[in-house]
């Protein structure tokens, strides 16, 4: 916490973060309030800065892909596939159709996972614990599916340079279809909840309104932009992977308030379930990878991907070796964060966590420990085993 006394008149600075129950990820916000109303807001980031852009300059493309996958604990696939796609563009090859379709499938599964997680977090910020618990329970379905097809719940490592590492078996396809049927049902229910629960609407309708003009000025992206009526979705604007074969319907709303951000995301859940179903049913046959040379000739490229939170961009430059010269990423949270600070001003302190959660800042998520024994067989550890493992490891340390 910052300094304790603040005697500048009646103004009062509320520090939120780096450690605060409202934030699951470190970030520091300072809200200057007058009574309950926020007058000024500022942000300090970088508590989770790991120098990944620097690290990858010393790694080859495959290693860099696995490191980039660790940028985010929720949308890991978009980062890894951005590097894979970038490397393919630099090398002048294209992944085979089946690989592109599988990437698309995982994009959409990840979007479902991320949006359900967000729904829970945002409901928690509003104090709607029941919705939080139910949406996270349903999220487990998608986590199980991701674990089944890739072997991991969060860092799926689906990509390889030039294609994908995993295949969708007929049995997995059935399980995926079953899971999205269930989730579609649930999403319809959530859509009903977020647009008709009157107590909840008191906390979301007309709160944090952003007009399209403001949105354009701050360069917001993703569902936040679409909730303000800005038609911006990379999947539609510049189809990548297999989005040209499986087109997406862009979901927008015009209100621009928190309610719109809720409904846009939940409707995107429905759209994603539709897409997943379509991709699984029409998966093209063929190879999973193409050969890419280890050394990539000097070139530069820009990759854009619609991550669950919005547009993700990577700039990549190769230098003729097997290591990238420069990789620069722009995650969707940065421009959206700029908008949040302006939206909170004039609102009540109680609304600030909800407006903040409304842009879905990239929260990390917890994970179970999975020990992979072989490529397909995974072994779950119980808490006791995990604890014993920790104790043994601690004692074995010299």
């Amino acid at each position: 916490m910052a300094e304790i006394s603040s005697d500048n008149g009646r103004k009062f600075t509320i520090p939120i973060g780096p450690q605060h129950p409202a934030l699951k990820e470190p970030g520091h916000f300072e809200f200057v309030v007058d009574g309950e109303v926020i007058q000024e807001a500022s942000v300090k980031l970088g508590y989770a800065h790991r120098g990944i852009e620097k690290i990858v300059e010393d790694r080859n493309y495959t290693q860099a892909m696995y490191i980039l996958e660790r940028v985010c604990g929720i949308c890991s696939h978009v980062h890894a596939s951005a590097l894979a796609m970038g490397a393919e563009q630099l090398a002048g090859v294209e992944a085979p159709p089946r690989a592109r379709a599988i990437r698309t499938l995982v994009y959409e599964l990840e979007r479902i996972h991320s949006h359900l997680l967000w729904l829970g977090v945002a409901a928690h910020e509003a104090g709607f614990e029941a919705l939080f618990m139910y949406s996270w329970r349903d999220r487990e379905t998608i986590m199980d599916i991701l674990e089944e097809i890739s072997g991991s719940r969060v860092h799926y490592s689906v990509n390889a340079i030039g294609g994908v590492r995993i295949d969708i078996s007929a049995e997995s396809a059935q399980n995926i279809l079953k899971a999205v049927d269930f989730l579609e049902e649930r999403s319809k229910h959530y859509l009903n909840v977020v647009s008709s629960d009157r107590v909840f609407l008191q906390r979301s309708r007309g709160i944090g309104v952003m007009s399209p003009e403001e949105g354009n000025r701050w360069g917001v992206v993703g569902p936040v932009a679409r909730a303000s009526g800005i038609k911006r979705d990379v999947r539609v604007d510049a189809p990548y992977a297999a989005y040209d074969i499986f087109p997406v319907t862009m979901i927008t709303a015009s209100e621009g308030d928190l309610e719109a951000r809720f409904t846009v995301r939940v409707r995107e859940l429905l759209e994603s379930t539709r897409l997943v179903r379509e991709v699984v049913k029409n998966l093209p046959e063929g190879e999973l990878t193409t050969k890419v040379k280890r050394k990539i000739p000097p070139a530069e490229t820009v990759v854009r991907i619609e991550a669950p939170r919005g547009e993700l961009m990577y700039y990549m430059k190769s230098n003729g070796t097997d290591q990238p010269e420069r990789i620069h990423g722009r995650t969707p949270t940065i421009p959206n964060m700029a908008s949040v600070l302006h939206l909170t001003i004039g609102h009540q302190l109680a609304d600030a966590p909800m407006i903040l959660a409304g842009i879905d800042p990239c929260f990390s998520c917890n994970d179970r420990a999975v020990v992979l024994k072989s490529q397909s067989h995974s072994d779950l550890w119980s808490w006791d085993q995990l604890r014993q493992y920790g104790i043994d490891r601690y004692h074995g340390r010299t």
Binding site: M1, A22, V199
Partner: protein, 307 residues
């Protein structure tokens, strides 16, 4: 012997140890019900006991810049208030151990001590979250207190007395929840506001102000505040059940009626989104007070017509 009996009443039943135990049990039931309604497993039966034990054994940190005496005294007063109130309500379906004309008013104000202490505790520390929490707690106190009192006046007016035991005996027969439904609803929701239960937990909204007024409390002080809340929950349930649900004839009726009310409260808690403090105040003054007054007017007119 009389002194010994008094001591027993204060230390064992219905004050003292009995209240602590039943408070913790009811807290567990409340937690478990909400957990099940939210599709969680919920705590095991000894969880509140374990929590309290842990808190009591922990070091209590007195932050800088606070009045140390006040800091240590407030949790004790906060627990003592509801403990004293236990003497005036028909705890466990038995006759109140102490009774006099006007004890209804005394009980209601003993129940308010908790919120006042929370407010003072927050204002006493210099932490920003505490200060905001204290402001909100006191704001909320001023909003629900009047409707809650008006709601409990209904049974008293019908019975023509301010004594809890007499109100119960005169109102045998038709349950007052049938004749005074508005008062009953306001009393239940007022109780939830008093206990800072879920839709009305803006004073301790953890996603905004960490733990509100009690942010700086740790160890024993926090334990006493928590137990005080649990005890107040039992007292409040007993009072409402006794006044509106046809009295508490025996321990079984006590359990059935209070747990029934608790189930209802847990449902409401699980269903609702937290209200902002301005929404809470608006709700109470715009609807709560008006409805409570309306009920009173109806009662007064009705009783004059009958007599």
């Amino acid at each position: 012997m009389d002194v010994l009996r008094q001591l027993l009443i204060i230390a064992i039943f219905p004050g003292g140890i009995f209240m602590l135990l039943i408070g913790l049990v009811y807290a567990w039931i409340n937690g478990k019900l909400i957990a099940r309604l939210q599709n969680r497993v919920g705590p095991r039966w000894f969880q509140p006991f374990a929590d309290m034990l842990k808190l009591i054994t922990k070091e209590e940190i007195v932050p800088e810049g606070t009045n140390k005496l006040l800091f240590e005294l407030l949790p004790i007063v906060a627990l003592a208030g509801p403990m004293t109130a236990a003497l005036y309500v028909p705890m466990a379906g038995l006759r109140p151990s102490s009774s006099f004309q006007g004890d209804l008013i005394v009980t209601i104000y003993l129940l308010s001590l908790m919120t006042l202490c929370t407010g003072f505790a927050g204002a006493n520390t210099r932490d920003r979250f505490s200060t905001i929490g204290a402001t909100r707690a006191l704001t909320q106190l001023f909003s629900y207190e009047a409707p809650f009192l008006l709601a409990l006046l209904g049974p008293a007016i019908v019975a023509g007395t301010w004594q809890i035991s007499e109100i119960i005996t005169t109102n045998q027969g038709l349950w007052l929840v049938v004749t005074q439904p508005i008062s009953f609803v306001i009393a239940i929701i007022g109780l939830m506001g008093k206990l800072e239960m879920h839709p009305f937990d803006a004073p301790e909204a953890k996603t905004e102000i960490v733990a509100g007024a009690l942010t700086e409390y740790s160890g024993r002080g926090l334990a006493l505040f928590k137990v005080g809340h649990y005890v107040e929950l039992v007292i409040g349930l007993t009072l409402v059940a006794a006044l509106f649900l046809g009295g508490l004839a025996n321990p079984l009726m006590f359990l059935l009626k209070t747990l029934g009310l608790l189930l209802g409260i847990s449902f409401l808690e699980a269903l609702m989104t937290r209200l902002r403090i301005d929404q809470t105040v608006g709700l109470w003054w715009r609807y709560g007070s008006v409805l409570a007054l309306l009920q009173l007017v109806i009662l007064v007119i009705w009783s004059t017509l009958v007599s």
